[in-house]
């Protein structure tokens, strides 16, 4: 059947729903239900995490194709099947999702006090959708998960969010949906042309060049909103500011990666000509994102907003890497996405810690926290440095690879993309200075407690991963080296084919 001997991907995907059903069945007074819901969600997500580690252990890094493949007939008349499988590009995103979910559950332990049952249920449904989306090998199945993510996320922002949550939730939903429905049309066009929605077949179907441009545009509409790329990024700061901490963590950690993953899974390999045609356009938007949103981040008063804008800038580096079409660039984009998934998620948790204590995210309300919260200051420092891209942390590897990759395309591209690193250092260090250093003047700050054991448990794995990725990137890049190599080769061959034909004709 597959390397694990049983349908492990389906198990990882659907197990959280089982936890959700258990949570729904809990009866009793409010406190009992809340406590049961928390523990059930935690255990479910931990079991899923352990199961997903099987993927880590059993994944064959030498194999560029899909592994752990499952296939069940679903709509035989339409050649649509329930197909699951992972390759080097998706497997680590699955792990990222299963890692961040228990962390989110832990981070919301005390912060969420109303409707705990529904909250935990939403997170488990969200986990199913995220994992399913990264595992799907059928376009229709992919689309279902891709859009299905919107339902729990909309509710998480809207029900448990801040004061402007309604506006933020609606904006998030409608922005993303607009992009997605255009992708749906592209899906239908490809389905009609190829006669199937099996992604393994679509990856080797060549579409006519004129059609590729349109398809690329439709995909772009969907993934650019998800990434998000400038100028369709405006939903992100609103969504982040209003979402509860754990919602921001998932949003920054996994949901933004869905856009990058989409570009790597669909746009680049399926539409080589379209991607090549649009690459300069993508570079332009990415460079604007890197420079402009970094500058915007400098001016922010709200910590979450600052990190949200920094996410846009970091994801701009990712899109530069993807569209260089060389091994270093794409590998760097992959690394940057994983690193950002951990670091920005951690930064939102860092903000969440002091927000839980003081219920404000205004930067000027803080200062001098190092005197009262030394452990917290260290944790914050680690992630600030990782966000800046200090060598030895995860942020460095991705950025340097992307810059090398982009240098092979154009000097100016790498120069402009690299300015993001400088500006990034400016806003991140300045934020750190204003919050952690300085004189401790306010009384309420003097009473702040350092990290609790629960919070240390939340941060420990993230700190560990940040250094692991920084010091020994090989253990992560080896997962996707084969797949990325094959993708780049396929891309070059597809672009060369028409030229080759023209050469023969002459």
């Amino acid at each position: 059947m597959n390397a694990a001997g049983f349908p492990i991907l389906s198990l990882i995907t659907w197990l959280p729903l089982l936890g959700g059903i258990i949570i729904m069945c809990v009866r009793g007074d409010e406190a009992t239900v809340a406590s049961n819901a928390r523990w059930t969600a935690l255990w479910t997500s931990l079991i899923v995490l352990v199961l997903s580690l099987v993927l880590w252990a059993r994944f064959d890094t030498g194999e560029p194709g899909f592994q752990f493949v499952e296939s069940v007939t679903w709509l035989p008349d339409f050649h649509v099947g329930y197909r699951m499988g992972v390759d080097g590009i998706s497997v680590l995103f699955v792990l990222l999702s299963t890692l961040l979910t228990p962390i989110c559950v832990l981070a919301s332990w005390d912060a969420i006090r109303v409707r705990v049952r529904e909250y935990m249920l939403a997170f488990l449904v969200l986990e199913t959708m995220m994992v399913g989306m990264f595992c799907a090998l059928d376009f229709v199945v992919f689309y279902m998960f891709f859009e299905g993510v919107l339902i729990p996320m909309f509710l998480i922002i809207g029900v448990w969010g801040g004061p402007r949550r309604v506006y933020a939730a609606l904006k998030f939903f409608l922005y993303t949906l607009t992009g997605s429905v255009l992708m749906l049309l592209a899906l239908l066009a490809m389905w009609f042309r190829a006669g199937t929605t099996d992604m393994t077949v679509l990856l080797h179907t060549s579409f006519p060049p004129a059609m590729q441009d349109w398809l690329f545009f439709a995909f772009f509409a969907s993934f650019a909103v998800k990434v998000p790329m400038w100028p369709v990024h405006t939903w992100l700061p609103d969504a982040h500011v209003e979402a509860p901490t754990a919602g921001s963590v998932i949003l920054a950690g996994v949901l933004l990666k869905m856009g990058g993953y989409g570009f790597l899974r669909f746009s680049v390999p399926m539409l080589p000509q379209g991607s090549a045609d649009f690459a300069p356009f993508m570079f332009a938007l990415s460079v604007v994102a890197v420079i402009y949103t970094s500058a915007v981040a400098l001016a922010q008063e709200d910590m979450k907003k600052l990190i949200a804008y920094s996410s846009v800038a970091h994801m701009g580096v990712v899109t530069i890497g993807i569209f260089t079409f060389n091994v270093q660039g794409i590998s760097g984009a992959m690394f940057q996405m994983l690193s950002h998934g951990i670091v920005s998620a951690a930064l939102f948790l860092v903000v969440g810690v002091i927000y839980d204590r003081l219920h404000t995210r205004e930067i000027t309300r803080y200062g001098g926290l190092v005197h009262r919260m030394p452990v917290y200051a260290v944790v914050f420092l680690v992630f600030t440095m990782a966000s800046v891209g200090l060598p030895g942390t995860s942020g460095f590897v991705g950025e340097i690879l992307v810059i090398i990759g982009s240098f092979r395309v154009s000097f100016w591209l790498s120069l402009l993309g690299g300015t993001g690193m400088i500006l990034g250092a400016a806003y991140a260090l300045w934020l750190y200075r204003r919050v952690i250093y300085g004189r401790l003047t306010r009384d309420d700050l003097k009473a702040m407690l350092d990290l609790s054991p629960r919070e240390i448990a939340v941060f420990a794995p993230l700190v560990l991963l940040t250094f692991w990725m920084g010091f020994y990137p090989e253990s992560f890049t080896s997962f996707w080296d084969a797949s990325v190599g094959a993708m780049v080769e396929h891309h070059q061959a597809a672009l060369a084919a028409p030229m080759h034909l023209a050469g023969l004709a002459r």
């Binding site: 709509l75 339902i151 939730a169 609606l170 429905v181 749906l184």
Partner: protein, 474 residues
Amino acid sequence: MMNWPIAVPEIVLSVCGMAILVFGVLRRQGSALICTMLCLGAFLLTAMLMLSTASGIGYSGLFVVDPFSTFSKLLILSGSVITLILSLDYNRTHLIDRFEFPVLVLFATVGMMVMASATNLMTLYLALELQSLAIYVLAAFARDDARSSEAGLKYFVLSSLSFGLLLYGISLVYGFTGTMEFARLAHALTDPATATAGLVVGVVFVVTGLAFKISAAPFHMWTPDVYEGAPTPVTAFMSTAPKVAAVVLLLRTMATPFGHLLVQWQQLIVLVAIVSMIWGTLAAISQENIKRMMAYSTIGHIGYALIGLAAGTPAGIRGVLIYMVIYVFMNAGCFAVIIAMRRRGRALEQISDLAGLGRTDPILAMGMVIFMFSMAGIPPLAGFFGKLYVFLAAVQAGLWTLAIIGVLTSVAGAFYYLRIIKVMYFDAGGEAFDPRPPSISLVAAASGVFTVFFFVFPAPILSAAQAAAGVLFG
């Protein structure tokens, strides 16, 4: 050729209806419940008879039984059954629990079943008339309520106008071809080049008359007022079974006799679909009354369904049929929730009355969330699949403009569906609704399960729709 047994289900249902009517008259007081039960039994019996009726054509080409008609009739019967279940409690609390109600629903259903089988413009007209007459009375059923009477009258007057247009169209078609039988019309109109201007005008009038019945814009004006005024179970009825019947009637009329005139009527359907989608969506956004909002939502959904017809292919027809199945069940679920909106026995209709439902009745609120996301077409809920198949047909037929407008209006439509969710969960709430009666919970739960789990095993409905659609465009 008489071949009268092919209409046995309809005959049996009519006889049952008359018997129940006599029974109710003789028994007078307090016979509403038992008559409803008898009608439900009659529907069940009809469904069983229908499944055992062989396909064929009878009554000298007036009436046909084929997979298409059987598929449609089963769906129509489901809509009627749901209506009767929903009406049980509502009619009792609103003191309109008279035995005529189920009997009228039954006769409307007979009309709709004949509509699904009509293969002659005359049968078509008579069946439509039977269905409409019953519904005029149903709309005005709460006769002490001015709004209900107004709804009945309005529906009657505007509907008569549309019948006038339809009859005019039929007479033109008859005048230019000399026949009303679908098969002969199809034969006479094989070459679109020979279609005279008068005939095309006739077809346009027929389409207009039917567009009125399916409340497609720009012939939708009656819908919001009638939906708002009619008793809620009647609104639920009007938005499900008769819509299905009118849509399948339109499908058969366009595909069989006028199938070769595709080029002539395609632009018309495209236009009607676009106007319905846009107007249904935009007008729904500003509604405060949930029944009015549902009326505009129906208009929008009809627009999406018409995309499949505009494609003019069996794949498109299949898309429409799947759309209607899904639409009936999620709509029934929505109306179950709307009927449950009641405080101290008084029905509430404002969207703002739903505020806080997420806290006071989490199960019902979760049901409504499911229906709203499904209506908005978010996967993996059923509503998404409805849209998927019609858009697929549109893309296959190369109708890109229609498909792009369709997906964009579905985003705009998501806004007003999300508004309901916003009100239920995000707004500070009022007090709890009255306890839900079991009949309402039953309908909501059944529709909810259908909507959520449709994606798990859709193959039976898809292949049934496939077989049904294969009959048209023969």
